[in-house]
Symmetry: C2
Subunit: 143 residues, 2 copies
């Protein structure tokens, strides 16, 4: 469905949203172990997300990753688009570039609906909201 990179990114963002609260920060080591991902790999991914200002960080003692007000409202859809691009949301199910409304592949219309449902769902999955919901029920981010 999504690339491994993208899965790690979503998990890491949720983990940060959950654990870096009230000015506190989380380090890569904690993130990596918290979401069960390779440490250096998730570090790279977070660097990317940082450059795009989707996550904030500070160096040095007590440093780590956290989310500012804007970042905490980011949706999983945004993360997916950033990492995997939007081919998931716009691409053809059979991989046809020319597939479109006027030039549909055999399963174009059915796929369109599913893609749209997925997009809506991921757009609604904003980090702050997920964390709030998870407070009610126990949560799991380990693979």
């Amino acid at each position: 469905m999504f690339s491994k990179t993208c899965e790690y990114a979503m998990r890491a963002m949720i983990f940060i949203a959950q654990n870096a609260i009230d000015g506190s920060k989380v380090g890569v080591k904690a993130i990596a172990s918290g979401i069960d991902s390779p440490e250096h790999f998730i570090a790279k991914i977070l660097q990317d997300l940082g450059r795009k200002n989707m996550v904030q960080s500070s160096k040095g003692p007590n440093g780590g990753f956290y989310l500012d007000e804007r970042s905490s409202k980011i949706s999983l859809a945004h993360v997916v688009k950033t990492i995997d691009g939007d081919k998931f949301f716009t691409g053809c199910g059979l991989g046809l570039n020319q597939c479109s409304e006027s030039n549909p592949c055999p399963i174009h219309n059915q796929f369109k609906k599913i893609r749209q449902d997925t997009l809506t769902m991921l757009e609604n999955a904003r980090l702050d909201r997920l964390v709030k919901e998870m407070d009610l029920s126990p949560l799991f981010l380990k693979r």
Copy 2:
């Protein structure tokens, strides 16, 4: 969404269903150009599908690929499961192995519905049916 291999496989199966009719057969060259895929690559994929009896073939002059009665009823879901496995239909959206009904990830329930819709859609997309529908409207399998 699906691997390239899987996309080619689906396109090739549809193409064969469409073009190998009334005992005629289609060769890899025609298939490759018909679905715009690398010739040797789709040949390999069809070999795999052939071993699993999802497509029939014969060598020599006038040889090529075709579908027997059973194969022509195969669904795209079957093709996807054969090539990409069933992680698409059963796996967690965040890539968590332990995600389940009793141990759900933050987006488990929403994803479950989408996966189910996708599965239903692909199960209904049987080759014979797709070809019938395509006869009504023009079709495109080139990328």
